[in-house]
């Protein structure tokens, strides 16, 4: 098979169209660069009916929205793929576990994510200074704040000014009013002495420009919004950049194999496989921006071996793929008898929680380092596959027959509809050099590209944190006046701690730093080993706070893009 050369040399090639790639596309194209964007999946635009899942009814899907290997979060979720991608496997080292969620499509995982848009706070960039574990970032909150501000205004996020030191306020749209189950949560948390504030989600409760609509409260942000009233990379960054007249070549179904370099070790472009004709191409560019997601970028770099970069591109430190870490997670739920037979009204609200608890114990000495926030769920949602399973299990609590058949089942389902409140913790783990992804020397995907092998185990820090989550959940949910559901998971089950990867906040594989031996990129997301390659996904995160990573990916990608432009102007690259 012969590699097909592009005749054109682009100013920049951007690998990946998620949060980081989208931001790079917007900023760099608007600066006048001639940009190519390579996305491994197909085109996607939720405003076009052929892609739309929003406002569809469960019966429009023959499997009633059930999940499948083709769409892990169900038929109506916007993310193609998920835990399994046909033809693109990954492996796990014996005795370790990592769940890897991938979505190959324009916009990647930004199409379905929870829109929880939290800034990292001053402490989050310097945790080693607090607890001596892991490493500090080479930058601090003040370096990123101007970019968080710009991201807030460009994309839109609702929230409220709370003046909490490590939960910095931003330029917020006003939040929606709480729903009934959320009032129960607020009351329970208050009684337990735990704070609750309006949530912070990138959903437009007001318009921010004339191109995007405002939220119409269908509660389906995970389905991607046809009015562009929530953030996704395609709808809020790439399409607007195209409309602004940027020189953007958007290439979908292009699976990048490696970054190519010349004999001095400078990047010359990327080689990729066009998934439609299955042929390999070489696209030439002066600068390469990697934004394929923390693990996919690590994979591409490790597969980019040359005489200059013998261990893979950017890997002279040996740290590409190392320090992989995800958020912790654990959950619990409560049955609220006072919500039985409740009046039914439309409470879809925005797609996600209207209230949440930010981490509140930074000043306390605890059995574990770092913290977690608490997310809230419940309400009278739209039925989909699985609704009505075990229709009267709650009769165990309220008395009455469990099982059976006939008209009583109907009544039981209605009686209990919308009477459960749930909480989930999302916490910070400690990055470990020994948790990593590497190239599996025995396995290739269907494109012939060597795949990743994961090595990941939680430490006692995360397990102890999950224990604290469970104790907190119990306090709050008890205080709601409801009846806790299920058993409290004990040590034998790691206190209900999710498996690494399951929270889909994986970061750290190309971490930034000032010391070339201890980091992969500098503090502007530029490879130490190769000045014309930048990493703009979550790979450069030194530590993943208990905040969802997207807002920080966006802010850092904007900051790195500004730096890139400046470096070009100064003819440094």
């Amino acid at each position: 098979m012969q590699v097909i050369e592009s005749s054109k040399v682009y100013d920049v090639v951007i690998v990946g169209s998620g949060a980081g790639g989208g931001m790079a596309t917007k900023i760099l194209s608007e600066a006048g660069f001639d940009v190519a964007v390579l996305e491994a999946g197909p085109f996607f635009d939720p405003a076009q009916d052929e892609y739309r899942t929003q406002l569809r009814w469960p019966w429009e899907s023959p499997r009633r929205g059930a999940s499948s290997d083709r769409r892990s979060f169900g038929d109506f979720d916007a993310a193609y793929g998920g835990w399994n991608l046909e033809g693109e496997p990954y492996t796990e080292a014996p005795g370790t576990r990592f769940a890897w969620f991938r979505s190959r499509m324009l916009g990647g995982r930004t199409n379905h994510w929870g829109r929880i848009s939290l800034r990292f706070g001053p402490l989050d960039f310097k945790r080693k200074s607090v607890d001596g574990l892991g490493d500090n970032w080479p930058i601090g909150y003040d370096d990123v704040k101007p970019y968080y501000d710009k991201v807030d205004k460009l994309i839109g996020v609702f929230g409220s000014k709370e003046n909490i030191h490590n939960e910095p306020d931003g330029f917020f749209l006003p939040p929606p009013k709480p729903r009934l189950h959320e009032l129960y949560y607020i009351n329970g948390a208050r009684k337990a002495g735990i704070p609750v504030i309006p949530s912070r989600l990138s959903i437009l409760t007001k318009r921010i420009n004339n191109q995007r609509g405002s939220c119409f409260y269908c509660g389906q942000c995970n389905r991607a919004c046809s009015a562009y009233a929530d953030f996704s990379s395609g709808t809020c960054l790439i399409f607007p950049a195209q409309k602004n007249g940027g020189k953007i070549e958007l290439m979908t179904n292009c699976m990048v194999r490696e970054v190519t370099t010349d004999k001095e070790g400078k990047a010359t472009g990327v080689s990729y496989i066009n998934k439609i004709d299955r042929k390999e191409y070489h696209l030439r560019a002066k600068i390469v921006v990697m934004a394929a997601s923390a693990c996919s970028t690590a994979r591409i770099l490790l597969n980019s071996k040359s005489s200059v970069h013998q261990d893979g591109l950017g890997n002279s430190s040996g740290l590409v793929g190392k320090y992989l870490h995800d958020s912790t997670g654990a959950s619990r739920s409560v049955f609220l008898p006072k919500l039985m037979d409740r009046k039914i009204y439309n409470e879809d609200g925005v797609g996600g929680m209207h209230v949440y608890t930010p981490w509140w114990l930074n000043d306390k000495k605890l059995k574990f380092p770092r913290g977690y926030h608490i997310e809230v769920w419940g309400g009278m949602g739209m039925p989909s596959y699985g609704f009505g399973f075990n229709p009267n299990n709650l009769n165990k609590i309220m008395g009455g027959e469990v099982g059976g058949y006939g008209e009583s089942l109907r009544e039981d389902v209605k009686k209990y509809y919308g009477a459960v409140l749930g909480v989930s913790g999302r916490g910070e783990s400690i990055p470990q050099r020994g948790n990593y992804c590497e190239i599996d020397n025995n396995v290739v995907d269907e494109w012939g590209i060597p795949v990743l092998k994961f090595n990941y185990q939680w430490t006692e820090h995360e397990i102890n944190q999950a224990e604290h989550m469970q104790d907190t959940f119990e306090q709050i949910l008890d205080a709601t006046g409801g009846i806790l559901l299920g058993d409290k998971p004990g040590k034998d089950r790691n206190f209900g701690l999710t498996a690494p990867g399951e929270i889909i906040h994986e970061v750290g594989t190309t971490r930034m730093g000032n010391d070339k031996k201890e980091s992969v990129t500098n503090k502007y997301n530029q490879l130490h080993d190769c000045a014309n390659v930048f990493i703009m996904d979550a790979g450069p995160f030194v530590s993943q706070a208990d905040k969802n990573p997207t807002w920080t990916i966006l802010a850092l990608a904007w900051r790195a893009s500004d730096y890139l432009i400046e470096q070009v102007k100064q003819r440094n690259i």
């Binding site: 052929e50 569809r56 083709r70 409260y217 469990v402």
Partner: protein, 233 residues
Amino acid sequence: MDRRESLKSLLVGSVAGGLLVTGCAPESTVEIPEKPQLPGYGRNEREKEHDEEVLSESFFNEHELETIAVLCDIILPANAEFGSATDAGVPEFIEFIAKDMPNNQLPLRGGLAWLDSHSNKLYGMEFKKLNEEQHKAICDSIAYPGKTAPELKHGERFFTNMRNLTMTGYFTSEIGVKDLGYKGNMPGVWDGIPEDVLKQQGMAYEEEWLAKCVDQTKRTDIATWDDDGNLLT
């Protein structure tokens, strides 16, 4: 179309445009079916291929589908206001699920066979041919987990499985969603919990909290802020 006919059409792929007649009778005409297609629901290419593949197959035979229909309507009969499980298309749904999630195939097929075998033992007839009283006697013996005789545990498992599929199939159908009373999935404006609900629950919004929330009369005004992040519009 009566139930029997509709089940027959299901057997040969009700969603298929053309009619494919299987069977070995020499006079049966075999039309080439149009490619089975669903109305769009936002599928990508891979998913379309999968759906077409599943829809072009059939799994249950006529007898099995008839038994499923009888059982579904015992589990969820019609009432004065709403139709039964089969009115809501539950047998078609179960047929699809069996093909789409193949790990259901053996337990369902085996469970149906167990039910007939048990029914034959007790009454000398297949389950679908029993009268109401006999149906009730068998269902009562397998419908209540924890109360089932040890030798009927297989039946309990099957019944539980069928109850789950029937209930989820019904409540995700158009009839079922209406029956449940779910009010959303349409453009609207969320402006808080209705007053009467708050009162009935003995709850109230805090003034301080409400002051932070969106004024829905200004939702279409474009947001602007001062330098400190205070919203001006």
